[in-house]
């Protein structure tokens, strides 16, 4: 409003040049939005391109985060403080064994809260005495200490665990896979298995335990019963320990030497939760592939936005001309089209975040996982669309601004 109807009473030969007004941010947004509102179908379709790209990336990140969250929760429930000790190989390559008193020695390490063990016996288990000897079903028979259940965190689904009485008698507890292979569904006094050349009674069935998968296909008998009935030598083959959380690594370091002070190199110490995590982490390459696909879709979406904007500029020459006639500078026109492009891809971005969240929720719910979409992924997705909108809109905006008003109005 520098030039009034009567620009000064003095007849100055050269009045100061008029200065264009700055456009308000709200007006920029309003003008950009009005441009989009006029072409809803096209806006929807080009925003969809961006949305698909963002949704794909959000879903990949969300699904993998949900899976990890699920694993973390499972590990939390199972505990990451479980360490196992098993005999490795001797220097000569022969199978080593742990000393019979390994459990007692390990139990004396300060931070160790619990220690228990199983020991493999040479016996085999069959559904009945009529089954040919070769058809052992891959089920191992182990001697188990009574405190195994608490140490490992295993759960009995049917029947009971061994107790002070039954562990001296021919009683057996089956892992879930072993029970399935033997065709045992319910334990009971009349359910007998042919184990080590005599009948054993099934007293319980365990639930699957991801931290000790070796128990799933095991038939567990009491330690004294194994020694007496099955000729078990009393050497543990896997020692399980629970440790104070803060001391897990320290204990892991000394566990080998403690279990077998004479031959510490013949001992294998492992942390099952690490193995489990590593196993789940192998999906990362697939995630990378999907992220790449999402990025490609996003790029294609960006090209779609640029295309829409270029067409829009071509179609709206008259509007551009009119705006120049109303006093818009090239800068005003540039900002208008840039705002439009930004809004367009932002629309796609926000839509994509919601689509991605929906996909993540659907998949996670289907898998029984908790739904986790990291906030950084959502913020990143929206930020990425803003960058795409700016890049895609730059050329059309510059083109629109360069259009001469007379040409635009012709």
């Amino acid at each position: 409003m520098t030039v009034r109807r009567f620009p000064g009473k003095r007849r100055s030969p050269r009045p100061s040049p008029p200065r264009p007004a700055r456009m308000r941010a709200a007006d920029m947004a309003r003008v950009g939005a009005a441009g989009l509102r006029a072409r809803p179908t096209r806006v929807f379709l080009s925003a969809l391109g961006i949305a698909i790209g963002i949704a794909a990336m959000i879903a990949v990140i969300g699904v993998s985060a949900s899976g990890r969250e699920d694993l973390d929760r499972r590990l939390d429930a199972l505990g990451t403080d479980l360490l196992t000790v098993s005999p490795g190989k001797s220097l000569g390559g022969a199978a080593a064994s742990l000393p019979a008193d390994a459990v007692a020695m390990i139990g004396r390490i300060g931070p160790v809260e619990a220690a228990s063990a199983i020991g493999k016996t040479a016996a085999k288990v069959y559904r009945s005495d009529r089954i040919p000897e070769a058809e052992s079903g891959g089920i191992g028979v182990y001697a188990a200490r009574l405190d195994l259940l608490d140490t490992v965190g295993a759960v009995v689904t049917r029947g009971t665990w061994l107790n002070a009485a039954t562990h001296t008698y021919p009683a057996v507890v089956l892992g879930p896979k072993a029970a399935e292979r033997l065709g045992v569904h319910t334990p009971g006094p009349q359910v007998q298995l042919w184990l080590g050349e005599r009948w054993f009674t099934v007293v319980g069935i365990l639930a699957a335990n991801p931290l000790a998968p070796e128990l799933d296909a095991a038939a567990l008998v009491g330690w004294p019963a194994a020694e007496r009935e099955l000729g078990f030598d009393g050497h543990p083959t896997t020692v399980y320990t629970r440790t104070e959380d803060s001391a897990v690594l320290d204990v892991q370091a000394v566990l080998g030497a403690t279990a077998n002070p004479a031959e510490p190199n013949e001992v294998e110490v492992s942390r099952p939760s690490d193995a489990l995590a590593a196993q789940e982490a192998t999906d990362d390459t697939l995630n990378g592939l999907f992220l790449g696909l999402g990025a490609t879709a996003l790029l294609v979406g960006g090209v779609g936005v640029a295309n829409t904007m270029v067409i829009s500029v071509l179609e709206r020459r008259a509007e551009i001309g009119l705006r120049r006639a109303l006093g818009a500078t090239r800068g005003h026109i540039r900002v208008q089209f840039l705002a439009e492009s930004l809004l367009l891809s932002l629309l796609g971005g926000v839509g994509g975040v919601f689509l991605g969240m929906a996909a993540t929720t659907g998949y996670a719910t289907h898998q029984g996982w908790p739904t986790v979409v990291p906030p950084w992924a959502m913020a990143g997705g929206v930020a990425a669309t803003l960058v795409i909108g700016a890049v895609a809109g730059l050329y059309p905006a510059v083109r629109a601004a360069r259009l001469a008003p007379t040409e635009a109005l012709a």
């Binding site: 264009p20 001469a404 012709a410």
Partner: protein
């Protein structure tokens, strides 16, 4: 009529790709004037309008608008000058979709006026132009005449001293055209200088001043042709700009040349846009 000059063209020529669309134009529009620029299609009317409206710069010659020499202004300053000084009305209205009130309020979009104020002014102007009952309607619900009056409202929202109307009645029937012309008269009476570009000699003859164009030359200007034609300072008579006898323009057939009869004649803008 000694009002200050608003637009001054001195020896202006405009060339488009080797074709001289306008040559040696001398023209002064003063504050508060009402004038017609008339001529057949292709005579340079629109070129003259874009130069007066600072939408394009002349190839040669000097243009002064509101005291500013266009040569001294950069493109953005020109835009600011346009925003504050000149309102435009086009044959095709150029109204976007949306409510009438917002379409008119856009007239001050580029002057940094807050939206609330723009809308308040728009309401005032619409009432003044007899469109008070159409405020909330969508632009596409209006008749042609109403659309053009909305476009006029948008053009004069900031109360510019000059209104350039390019064939304002070209797309309207005679009754709607008359209403639009009445709106322009009304603005003129309120003090706005109004230039109406038309190929209709009747409209041209009905306005106080008439500038006639032919083949890119100002053939006749009633302001200069008055008592002593040759005296006019702004438009010295030259061999290549014959100032014709006022009698001549009465015969209507004179304006229609063979090359002007064709599909490009009345609906020219429609075709090109």
């Amino acid at each position: 009529m000694t009002a200050r000059p608003l637009v001054e063209l001195v020896g202006v020529a405009k060339e488009y790709g080797g074709v001289l669309a306008l040559r040696d134009a001398h023209l002064t529009v003063r504050v508060g004037e009402l004038a017609a620029v008339v001529g057949p299609s292709g005579s340079g009317k629109s070129t003259l309008l874009t130069i007066m409206g600072t939408l394009s710069r002349p190839t040669s010659g000097t243009v002064r608008v509101a005291g500013h020499d266009l040569d001294d202004l950069r493109d953005r300053e020109l835009a600011a000058l346009r925003a504050a000084t000149i309102g435009f009305v086009f044959q095709q209205f150029h109204l976007g979709p949306g409510p009438v009130l917002d379409a008119v309020a856009d007239g001050l979009l580029y002057q940094g006026t807050p939206r609330r104020r723009r809308r308040a002014l728009a309401e005032q102007v619409l009432h003044r132009l007899g469109l008070g009952h159409r405020l909330g309607h969508d632009t596409h619900q209006l008749s042609g005449g109403e659309k053009q009056r909305v476009a006029i409202a948008r053009a004069v929202l900031g109360d510019p001293p000059l209104l350039l109307a390019d064939e304002p009645t070209g797309a309207l029937d005679s009754r709607a055209g008359a209403v639009v012309m009445e709106a322009l008269y009304e603005l003129h009476r309120a003090g706005t200088a109004v230039i109406v570009i038309t190929h209709n000699p009747d409209i041209a003859a009905s306005l106080p001043r008439e500038v006639r164009l032919r083949d890119g030359r100002i053939e006749y200007d009633s302001a200069c042709a008055a008592p002593v034609p040759a005296v006019a300072q702004e438009a010295p008579a030259r061999p290549d700009t014959p100032v014709t006898d006022p009698e001549h323009h009465r015969s209507n057939g004179q304006f229609v040349r063979p090359d002007a009869i064709g599909p490009r004649h009345p609906g020219r803008r429609e075709e090109d846009s």
